[in-house]
Subunit: 228 residues, 2 copies
C-alpha cells in the first residue's frame, strides 16, 4: 500500500507506506496540520502506524511526528546527526528498518542539512530535500554544504537503478515523481555531466530569501514537532 | 528459531532469535571471542543477521558487534544513553524493532548502567544485567543507581505476565532461564515484597571487587567492540 499526500502551504509531500500482509505502516515526513488526514487514511485501510520517518529536520513546516506519537503511539525516526534528540530511533547510513514485508534502507545524504537521509524501499527512493525533481535542496543553512550534497546525490542516489522512482520532499510545480535515470541525465543542477566544481559555484550564486517559517519550524522540529 | 549460547570466561549468555519465515535474525549480546560459533549457526540455519542488539555497554567482555558488522553487514543496536555512538541504531524506551515475524520491544531498564535496556519478544524478556536469576546487576559503576534499578525492574519487567520467560545476560550457577513470576516472588534481592529502601541499603552494602576486565571492555564496547 502506497499513498502520496500534498500539503499546499509548504508544498510538502508526505508518503504512507504500508505492508499489505501485516497492515503495519510508516509515514515519511508527515506535516502537523495534516495529521487528521493521515489518521483517517490509516483507519480506512486498517493500518497501524509504526514509525514516522523524517528525511531531515525541516525548516519550512512543522512535523506531525509528535502529534502522531501522542495519538497513535508511533515512534519517530531521524538521522543521528540531525540534532533532534527528541526522536525515538536514531538511524545511520546503511541501517534497514523492516516493517512487515517492507524493507526500508537508510542512506545518509547530507548537504541540504547535515542530518539528511534518503529512504530506499523496493523500486522507490524518498529523497527529502536532497534531490528534487529537476532541482535540489538549498545548501545555505542548517550546515548545508554544496560539495557534500553533490557527493551524496552522486554516490547514494544516482547509483540506484535508473528506473528507481524518485519521490521528493517537495515539488512546487505539481510534479509527483521522477526517476533516477531522468534526474541523473537531465536534472538542470546535477545532470548533464555537470562537475562538482560547477555545482558548488551554481549553488553559491543562488540568491535565496530567508525561509519564512524557519524560526518557528526549526526549534519545533528539533523537538519532533512539539510547539512550546 | 531460538538459541542460547554461553561464553564461560565471563559467564555471558548470548541469544539468537530468528524469523522462521524470512530467515532474518538478531543476536542479543554477542561476545567477540564467540563470533565464529554464531556465524556457523547462522550458516547452518540459513539465517541472515540483521541486528546485533546490546542490552548495555558491558564491563566484563568485549561485544562481537563490530566483528559481525564487518563480516556479515549486521547493524549494531544500543540505547541512546549508553554512550556508544559507534552504534548504527540508537533506540529508546517503547520502540519496536520488527524482524520478519519477530516484534522486539525495547524497554529502558537503567540502574545497572544508565543505558540498560531489556528486550521483550513474544513470551520472552532478555533482561541483560538488570534482572538476573535470583539476583540483579551491581549498581556501583557506569552510572549505576540502585533506586533506579529497583524502579526499572518493578515497572518494566515485573509488570510483564508471570509466565514470561526471563533470559538474563549472565548466570554463574548454570541456570538457563527463569520466569517473571518466579523472580517477582522469590528473587532474593527484589522479590518477597522487599521495599525500595531495603534494596538500596542492600546494594550499598555489597563489597564487590573492581571488575577485572572493565578497563579493556568498557572503551572497546563504547566503540562497538573495536579494539584499538
Amino acid at each position: 500500500m502506497f499513498k502520496q499526500f500534498f500539503e499546499p502551504e509548504s508544498s510538502t509531500y508526505t508518503y504512507l507506506l504500508g505492508c499489505d500482509k501485516t497492515r503495519l505502516a510508516v509515514l515519511i515526513d508527515p506535516v502537523a496540520s495534516e495529521v487528521d488526514t493521515y489518521i483517517a487514511e490509516l483507519e480506512s485501510t486498517g493500518c497501524k502506524l509504526v514509525y514516522t520517518m523524517e528525511t531531515h529536520v525541516h525548516a519550512d513546516h512543522v512535523t506531525g511526528a509528535d502529534l502522531l506519537r501522542q495519538r497513535l503511539g508511533s515512534k519517530s525516526v531521524v538521522h543521528r546527526d540531525a540534532g533532534a534528540m527528541c526522536a525515538d530511533l536514531l538511524v545511520t547510513d546503511g541501517v534497514h528498518l523492516i516493517v512487515g514485508t517492507l524493507d526500508i534502507e537508510v542512506r545518509h545524504t547530507p548537504g541540504h542539512t547535515n542530518g539528511c537521509v534518503s529512504y530506499v524501499c523496493g523500486d522507490k527512493v524518498f529523497t527529502g530535500d536532497a534531490l528534487l525533481i529537476d532541482g535540489c535542496g538549498r545548501t545555505d543553512f542548517q550546515m548545508g554544504n554544496a560539495g557534500q550534497l553533490y557527493d551524496s546525490i552522486h554516490q547514494k542516489i544516482f547509483t540506484l537503478p535508473d528506473d528507481t522512482k524518485v519521490y521528493p520532499g517537495h515539488d512546487y510545480h505539481g510534479r509527483l515523481h521522477s526517476t533516477v535515470g531522468q534526474e541523473r541525465l537531465h536534472n538542470q543542477r546535477l545532470g548533464r555531466g555537470r562537475s562538482r566544481e560547477d555545482f558548488i559555484a551554481l549553488m553559491s550564486e543562488l540568491k535565496l530569501s530567508y525561509p519564512g517559517k524557519i524560526d518557528i519550524a526549526l526549534p519545533a522540529n528539533q523537538a519532533c514537532g512539539r510547539l512550546s
